[in-house]
Amino acid sequence: MSAVSTEFGIAAPAIRAGYWSGVRRRLARDRVSIVCAAILLAIVLAAIFAPYLGLADPYLGSMIRRLKPIGTPGYPLGTDELGRDMLSRLIYGGRLSLLIGLTPVALAFVIGGMLGILAGYVGGLVNQCIMRTADIFYAFPSVLLAIAISGALGAGIVNSLLSLTIVFIPPILRIAESVTTSVRTLDFVDAARSSGASAFTIIRVHILGNVLGPIFVYATSLISVCMILGAGLSFLGLGTKPPEPEWGLMLNTLRTAIYINPGVAALPGAMIFIVSIAFNLLSDGLRSALDVRG
């Protein structure tokens, strides 16, 4: 027996080389991803623990302190058009901006993922129904669809979240269906079917582990788009309503201030940019880590 098990002199590896541990290892070696993850973590933590950071009140303004430049003592990032401290507004603003950027993608991942995997596994009429319905929404450019739904429903955070979720379900659904269909044709799925397992068990044991990775990576690549689009909705006045701090809304209200204090006016957009690019780089890093065969 032992002669057979060392057929070609293959020794048993010392580390358990499962798929996900390999992914973790590759990610840990990717410096760009680590830096991005650290930056994002810092921003998220600051947003969550904002009340404990000793910041000024983000809602308290004063007309004599309007539009102070960056570096003013006591107001390190200046003040906005109503005299509110910018540093505080930016950090508190992260709460809503991140919420609007992450929640729709998370929801779309769950809903679109489930529908897509279902469509991919079951095939046939169910697949056609689901995919054709998704195609209808695909016939709209995403910005237009988000604005149309938001515009129709009216301003407000909940409406923004709803419209963004609807916009992101079709692309995730498509990827989920496509990946599931290609996994479903593999022999090991046939083997699982021929052992008499129910569809649900097969999806749970054999399909999910092989499709969630690519779907998840694709979803993370959508986060930056969602952040930009979400902030864009607020920028147009369709999302967050004043006086809530939120980066897109702040860009809107500070627009007229570009002639007086351009530095401060540009700050909220810089935050969106930083978070967006960090998510994109992280998503790319994740894709490379997941991509290696085996």
Partner: protein
């Protein structure tokens, strides 16, 4: 449920005279192309009116070129696809009626061709093998014990291999896992779909020996699908030759290799590479491209490529008829009174020398 009980194969219902599996007029058509443009639809006749039986304890091989329907046949027998027409009878019981699919799955299992796609890359070997028993009611501990026992049986040290992933195994080792997985439900019939085709020759020999041992130990019956006639001649009791979805010849290994009656079988045998300097191939044994299964030729499907084709061959399709005990051929030349000038005469040894 104890492991030993679980691994006990089902009892022999029909007795030794009953064929283990009987296929009657199995037919499977696939429709290719869009349904919108009717008339443009291509019908692929993957398996067309196929009838044969498998004797208990034997190794029946199925040979043929790609596209002849071997894999579709395998999937029909294991219940993964539903036939358009025809029946399958397992040990005397009609499948999908007396015998439910769920029970059939415990009786018939398949070993797939080795490729990266035959094992789930995300779960360990042990989990792969234990999946079948777990799904069929075995507890976790029982299923794992079964998996480990089977690993040992196929020659892979359980403590070493149980926790490995497919990418950590060589091709031969993966095929052993495939075999272990197939045996996990204690089947009586094992279908081997090109199970050794992708392996290096030395590894192939080892796996074939393992299969032979297992067959003896566990009283298995094999349906061995292959395109490699050397392996088939070594391994089989009976051989069945398929062409474009139909059986053209079926008989014992001896009869097929030594007393070939169908021109296609003859061509296949002649095409086997040989290191015998006396057997030089100057003429190709078979000409023309294999026609597509969408629009098979009229009459005998082989007639465009057959060296002995005559007028009757393009008009009437020959039926599979016995010419000796346990040897049947579908060819006009084998049936007296078919209208073929050579009817009733055995085939000449085809000379391929220049």
């Amino acid at each position: 449920m104890f492991a030993a009980e679980f691994l006990e194969p089902a009892e022999d219902v029909g007795g030794p005279a009953q064929p283990l599996l009987e296929a009657r007029r199995l037919t499977k058509h696939f429709i290719r192309g869009s349904r919108l443009f009717a008339g443009k639809r291509a019908v692929v006749r993957a398996v067309d009116d196929v009838s044969f039986s498998i004797v208990k304890g034997e190794v029946l091989s199925v040979v043929g070129e790609s596209g002849c329907g071997k894999s579709t046949l395998a999937r029909l027998l294991i219940g993964l696809i539903e036939p358009n027409r025809g029946e399958i009878i397992f040990d005397g019981e009609l499948v999908r009626e007396a015998l439910t699919l769920r029970v059939l799955r415990r009786r018939v299992q398949m070993v797939f061709q080795d490729s990266y796609a035959s094992l789930n890359p995300r779960i360990t070997i042990e989990e792969t093998i234990a999946f079948g028993p777990k799904v069929n009611g075995a507890g976790n501990a029982t299923a794992c014990k079964i998996a480990r026992d089977l690993l040992a049986k196929v020659g892979l040290e359980p403590n070493d291999f149980a926790g490995r992933y497919p990418h950590e195994l060589s091709g031969g080792q993966r095929q052993r896992v495939n075999i272990a997985r197939a045996l996990a439900l204690a089947p009586r019939l094992v279908i081997l779909d090109e199970a050794v085709s992708a392996l290096d020759k030395s590894v192939e020999a080892q796996v074939l020996n393992l299969l032979a041992d297992l067959r003896e130990q566990l009283g298995l019956t094999y349906l061995f699908i292959s395109h490699d006639l050397d392996v088939v001649s070594f391994f089989s009791d009976r051989v069945m030759v398929m062409y474009l979805g139909e059986i053209v010849e079926i008989g014992t290994a001896y009869a097929l290799f030594q007393e070939t009656r169908h021109p296609y079988t003859q061509a296949l045998l002649a095409a086997m590479p040989s290191s015998d300097p006396e057997r030089r191939t100057a003429k190709p044994p078979i000409t023309g491209d294999p026609p597509s299964p969408i629009a098979p030729p009229s009459g005998c499907r082989f007639h465009p490529r057959c060296a002995y084709a005559e007028a009757v061959c393009s008009v009437k399709a020959p039926q599979l008829g016995p010419i000796a005990a346990g040897h049947a051929v579908a060819c006009h030349m084998a049936q007296a009174g078919s209208g073929h000038s050579r009817a009733g005469q055995p085939l000449q040894r085809q000379s391929l020398n220049a």
